[in-house]
Structures are given as C-alpha cells and as structure tokens.
Amino acid sequence: MVEPTLKVKVANVGSKPSSLKAPFYTIKDMFSNKFLIKNLVSREIRGKYRNAMLSYTWTFLEPALLAVVYYFLFYMLAGNPDELYSVWVLVGIIVWGCFGKSLSSTVTSLTRNRNTIHLVYFPRIIFPITSVIGNIVITMMSCLVIIPIMIIFDLPLTIYILLVPLSVLLAGFLAIGLGILLAPLNCIYRDVEHLIRFIVRAGFFVSPVMWTYEMALERGNFGEIATYNPMLTPITLARHGLEGRETTLPSEIIILTILFGIVMWIIGSILFERNERKAVKYL
C-alpha cells in the first residue's frame, strides 16, 4: 500500500470564497481552466457546423442572406434608402447576432450541459463563459464578409476598422452579465429561456439593426431615447469603424455602455455563484 502523503491541504467540499468576491475569482477560474475552455469552445463550434458542405462559410453566408432579405423589406416599406444601407443592416445583424446568440446560449448553458454537471465538478462559470467565447469566435469569422464589402463599396481601409472586432467583443461582454444572472434561474424554470427568446427577437427591432443612429437623430427625441439602449454603442461603433471615420457617437455614451457591462458582470457573477449550487439540484 502507498504511504499516505498529505501535503495537500484539506478542502471543505462545497465551501466557496464569499460570493462578493465572485467578479474576481471567477476570472481566475477562467485562466486556470484555459485548456478545458479551449476544448469546450472547439466542441461547440465544430458541433454547430458539422456535416455541412459549406461548413464555416455559413458563418458569413447567414448574415449576408438575412441582410438581402431585410434590405428588400425596408426598400419596399421606406423606399430608396442610401446605397450603403444594406451594409449597415449587415453590420447590425452581425453585431446584434453576437449579442442575441450569446445571451440565449448563456442562459441555456447549464441546462444544455446537465449530463456533464451531474458527473464531474469544475467551476460552473466555465459553461456560460464557453458559450460566449464560442459565439464571439463564430461572429469574428462572419466578420470576414467585410473584406468583399469593402472592395465592392470602395470603403477606405483605416485604423478604425479595428472597431469592428472590438464591437463584437463588447456585444458578447454585454450579453454575459445578463446571461449568467439568468442561467441558474433557467435550471429551475425553463420559462426563462422562452422569455429570453422573445426578448432577443423584440430587441432586434428596438436596437439599431435595421435603422441607424443617424436615422434616429433625424427623428429628434427618438435619437435620445435610442441612446438608452446599450446595444447602440457596439453596433454604431462597428458601422463607423467600417466606414473608416472617427465615431460621432458621444464618448460619454461609450463609457456608460462599458460601465453598464462591468456592473452587469459584477451583479451577474455574484448571483451566479450564489445560486448555481441550489439550481443544479433541479437539473
């Protein structure tokens, strides 16, 4: 028999640091589980495009086809929009899609992985984190569609193009706070995921996907109301970045959006850590 080597310290199973520290220690958990996250993300992405002849082409084919549909829809309703309008719709669809898909997949991240949760323990914040990273990676791939667009519409290549990937990151970050807040609740009542599906669909019209910040400004008051929507910032920044100009979005709105994301992350991670253990018993 092996001699007992008790260099390891005794851990009290199930005890965690105070959940008020959750916004920080969950980030530490992320880094110490890099390998796991990498494998889970690649499972998620590969799973999505399995057995598809065009495989990853779908990442940008899907938003491109949607943009065509919405362009014609809007063309019929409003008539003769400016020639770059279809591009702005496409950008809106990509960035909003990143937010919407991240949000709904975070909310369902615990319920989708219930088989794993029943059989092994690792910090469960990994599941929602993986969902968001997966969606951000997919959205980054769909951003490649920008290259042909820049050539077709003769858009200048400037440093501001970096705003496009940054906006995608911001959209994913805005989704995660709300997502992890609701994920444990979704283990108990699946009503949450139905509600979120509705919110994502309704949010599509409330957010500047089919309309732009500039269009809203022309309508006076409407422009001011639109600034209360956190998703205005990433979508508008991506559009301005693609156009190759310095953004006309007031910097206080950008700062407020980022602060909003950070606050949501703090609240979300605290509540996630507090409720996750009770919630998995319902799975």
């Binding site: 390891v8 199973v13 390998f35 796991l36 889970l40 590969r46 088989n115 794993t116």
Partner: protein, 244 residues
C-alpha cells in the same frame, strides 16, 4: 495510515421538487416541506490508504454520497472535508462529441476530468495504445461502436492517478477480453491510488479488494464493517429491514 482523507459529518442532502405557481403558494401557506431527502445524517471517515466500498439498493444514495465527496452537490447540512485531488469515474465518456476525432475527444474528456494540457499530451500515446482503437483514433467518434467509445472513455479516465479515486459502477465495459483488461486496469489503479471509494453491485469483487464496506439504505448509512459483515447485513435488509 492514520490520517482521514475524507470526512463526512452529519451530511444531509435534499433535492427540491419542481413546482408550479399554485403549489408554491399552497406550500408557502401550509408551510409544508415537499423536498426529497436523498441523504440523512451520513457520518463517514475514510482513512488514507483505504479501499472503501458502498453497497445498497438502487436509489439508496450510494452514488449521491460519491457526488457529495466529489463536490457536485454541496451538503445542505453537515460538512464534507476532503484532502487531495479527487477523480470520479462515472458515466465514462461524459461530454464526448460525435463529430470530433478520438484524439480530440480524449483531450476534451481529459480536460473535463480536470487534467491540464501537458499531462494529457504526455499520456496521449498510452491512452491510444490502451484503447486498442488503432487507426480509428483519427476518425470522428460517431463512427465508433458503443464498446469502442467506452474503451476510449476508460482509457482516458484511468490514465492519470488522483489522490482519491471514486468509482461508480464502471467495471464491465466492452467485450469479454476488454472487460478483463479494463478490470485489471482499474484494479491496478486501485492499488496505486492511496484511497479509493467504490460503488459496485459485484459483491465478489468488493469482498476481494475492499478493506471496509458501508451499507446504504434509504439515504442512511446503516452500518460500516468488514466486507463479510456488510454483505450479510445487506441481505438482511430484504428480510425485514430491521437495521434502521
């Protein structure tokens, strides 16, 4: 070998019942507790170097005890203390994804079990060799038979030695030849690992390798004793069940 590496003190675990809006209000008013108690006041100390067995009927709470020890369900009451790195062998191949290759799934499953990249890369040749998959290792595992998947799962799960090994009924996968091989592999892992807690229905095996056995009935640990005593006690549960 005197130090305890697993200590459960008065562990109680309840599972809440899923309720609709009306019954929540009803239970709030009548103050009725409808939750299901899976474990009731379990006290257990397992010493370093010990091979401990758990027996009991289906649904008695054996697997739940293992899950409490591995941290999946924190106890509602009482405490569970553990010293060392734990590995729970249950449901081999958790998280396998059908359209990725054997190698990718081995790495994925290894990382789910908590192993890091360098450990896994180091053990990969051994895993491939043990699983006897040959050239299939680079095929997507949706093309595998159930036995092949189980072999790969077992190869990964037993590749790295933890401080404390928890085994939940994973003996006997694959064809007879592989079953013998897998049994030998688990037994050698049991020998190399200092502390083992196992759940199994094959009493002959348990008698052979366990130092002590606990009998679980309806969420309670009704007795702990040497293998013969415990197995006798288990059969007495059926004839009247006077052990409570």
């Amino acid at each position: 070998m005197t130090e305890s590496v697993i200590i459960l003190q008065n562990v109680t675990l309840r599972f809440p019942k899923l309720k609709g809006i009306l019954s929540i209000i009803k239970d709030k008013i009548t103050k009725k507790d409808t939750s299901f108690t899976a474990l009731k006041g379990v006290d257990l100390e397992i010493k370093s170097g010990e091979v401990f067995g758990l027996i009991g009927k289906n649904g008695s709470g054996k697997s739940t005890i293992l899950r409490v020890i591995s941290g999946i369900y924190p106890p509602d009451e009482g405490q569970c203390k553990v010293a060392g790195k734990i590995s729970l062998l249950a449901g081999l191949g958790t998280g396998f994804s059908g359209h990725q290759t054997g190698v990718e799934n081995a790495l994925l499953y290894g990382s789910i079990l908590g192993h890091n990249e360098s450990e896994m890369q180091e053990k990969l040749p051994e895993i491939i060799d043990f699983s006897e998959l040959g050239s299939f290792i680079d095929e997507p595992i949706r093309t595998y038979s159930a036995g092949m998947k189980a072999r790969l799962g077992l190869a990964v799960a037993t590749a790295i030695k933890p401080d404390i090994l928890l085994i939940d009924e994973v003996l006997g996968v694959g064809d007879p030849q592989f079953r013998d091989k897998s049994k030998a592999r688990i037994l050698s892992l049991v020998k190399d690992t200092s502390t083992v807690v196992m759940v199994s229905h094959s009493f002959a095996l348990m008698k052979d390798i366990c130092d002590r056995i606990g009998v679980v009935n309806k969420g309670k640990l009704v007795m702990i004793g040497n293998p013969e005593e415990a197995i006798t006690a288990y059969y007495e549960l059926d004839n009247g069940g006077t052990l409570d």
